[in-house]
């Protein structure tokens, strides 16, 4: 008779938690173009191996010209997107102006560091245009260390694959339409090499005149 004894690594369900950051899966990438920025994410929400939703985008609008991408543990993605919405709204009411992307980056950083010894399991990406319409992107780790990049930033379970794709496809001063193609190809091909990300993608291009969000159909596996 077959008898399953739980060992120290496997739970009774027969699955293993390697890392809490890999529990739900997800991918986010942002890139700088000529007077524009782009931010893109996948749409999968899973519980380890099982996909439970294909409508879980991970980018959120902070101001009309700034977006935050939040890959990581889904409950923290939801909570933090609401926390940042609160903080950004309060900032706007008190200061009577929209928050600049650079300032938002520091706000995100200090919010995460407040939980230094019991962190939020997200690694945010910020992309936007400042008040002079200069492009700005950055990412932070889960405890708030900011990475100010001039070209692209990646985050999530697909980060290694995204690094590879972006490093080869990105070039400076891409126009909005070309930036859209570049970031889309980087994301689509990277998530195809990650079992925990994919199931659709959402790409947002931010220019001084308009913000366009497009949904891409990808391999549904």
């Amino acid at each position: 008779m077959e008898y399953r004894v739980p060992n120290s690594l496997a739970s009774l369900s027969g699955t293993v938690h390697k890392s809490i950051m890999e529990y739900n899966g997800g991918a986010v990438v942002a890139m700088v173009g000529k007077n524009c920025v782009a931010i893109a994410c996948d749409k999968r929400l899973g519980v380890q191996a099982m996909t439970i939703s294909t409508e879980f985008p991970k980018t959120f609008q902070a101001t009309p010209k700034t977006y935050i991408g939040l890959p990581g543990l889904a409950t923290d993605v939801q909570t933090l997107s609401e926390k940042f919405r609160f903080k950004v709204n309060m900032y706007k009411l008190k200061e009577e102006r929209e928050i600049e992307p650079r300032t938002l980056a520091h706000l995100v950083s200090s919010t995460l560091y407040e939980r230094r010894f019991g962190p939020w399991f997200v690694e945010p990406v910020i992309a936007g245009l400042d008040k002079e319409n200069r492009p700005f992107i950055c990412s932070t780790d889960l405890i708030g260390c900011i990475n100010f990049a001039k070209d692209f930033v990646v985050s999530g379970t697909t980060s290694n694959q995204l690094y590879g794709m972006c490093e080869s496809l990105w070039e400076p001063d891409l126009e909005p339409e070309d930036l859209f193609e570049t970031i889309s190809q980087s994301l689509m091909n990277a998530v195809d090499r990650d079992c925990l990300s994919g199931w659709g993608a959402q790409v947002t291009i931010i220019t001084p005149d308009q913000v366009i969000t497009r949904t891409l159909k990808s391999r549904q596996d």
């Binding site: 008190k94 200061e95 650079r102 520091h106 706000l107 200090s110």
Partner: protein
């Protein structure tokens, strides 16, 4: 009638006043005069450094204080109460910086200081601060001058005076002030206004002047650089005094 309601701060009098605040304002009005003038390109704040005795080392008295790099302030009223507010203002500015990595805009810092002063009009066992503050700051909206009173009310001013000689000083300023005034003229005017009610000799050791001027610039990486508030050195004050003689 006021007597019966003047002992407890947190009790309104029938006329709707908090009498302790009225008394705090009396403390302010018996303090030495301070002036603030907003120019197109900056702000000047000035005050008398009234030495009680000739034996006092007036180089170590600091009335004009820097709160953070782009905001400074001066007061009229009780010195010790002022010192507490300087610290609270400095801490509030650093707390803002801790979250946003930027200097606070003047209006935000003023609101923080004003709400501290208001707390002391509504808590038990405390009394209001016996000072009025003139807070001068330069942020992305430009130069701003605010007055904050013991009650916690604050107003933005183009030019104002607080303290002993405020009525005469404000009349003087109303005549001399115009919206296109530049900082050099404003410093000149501030000194003349102080001189109106000055008791004793006005020298570089008996007045203190703080200024903030310049423009908001942006570094290559997009970070904003704000002008810095600074106190004039005694020799600079001496030069300005020579010009009005």
């Amino acid at each position: 009638m006021a007597d019966r309601y003047s002992f407890s701060l947190t009790t309104f009098s029938p006329s709707g006043k908090l009498v302790q605040i009225e008394y705090a304002l009396s403390a302010v009005n018996s303090g030495v005069t301070s002036i603030g003038i907003k120019a197109t390109n900056g702000i000047v704040v000035a005050t008398e450094k009234k030495a009680v005795s000739t034996l006092i080392d007036d180089s170590s008295v600091e009335k004009v204080a820097i709160i953070c790099s782009n905001i400074g302030m001066v007061y009229s009223g009780m010195g010790p109460d002022y010192r507490v507010l300087i610290n609270k203002a400095r801490k509030a500015a650093q707390a803002y910086k801790r979250v946003y990595m930027e200097e606070p805009p003047t209006a935000i810092l003023v609101k923080e200081v004003a709400s501290v002063m208001q707390e002391f009009t509504q808590s038990g066992g405390v009394r209001p601060f016996g000072v009025s503050l003139l807070i001068a700051g330069f942020d992305e909206k430009g130069p701003m001058l605010y007055q904050v009173d013991p009650s916690g009310s604050y107003w933005p001013w183009k030019a104002t005076a607080i303290g002993k000689n405020m009525v005469n000083a404000k009349t003087f300023l109303e005549k001399r002030y115009n919206e296109d005034i530049e900082l050099e003229d404003a410093i000149h005017t501030a000194i003349l206004t102080l001189k109106e009610g000055f008791e004793g000799q006005m020298t570089e050791n008996t007045i203190e002047i703080g200024i903030i001027t310049g423009a908001v610039t942006t570094k290559d990486d997009g970070a904003v650089v704000l002008p810095e508030f600074r106190k004039l050195s005694p020799s600079e004050v001496k030069d300005y005094l020579a010009n009005i003689a």
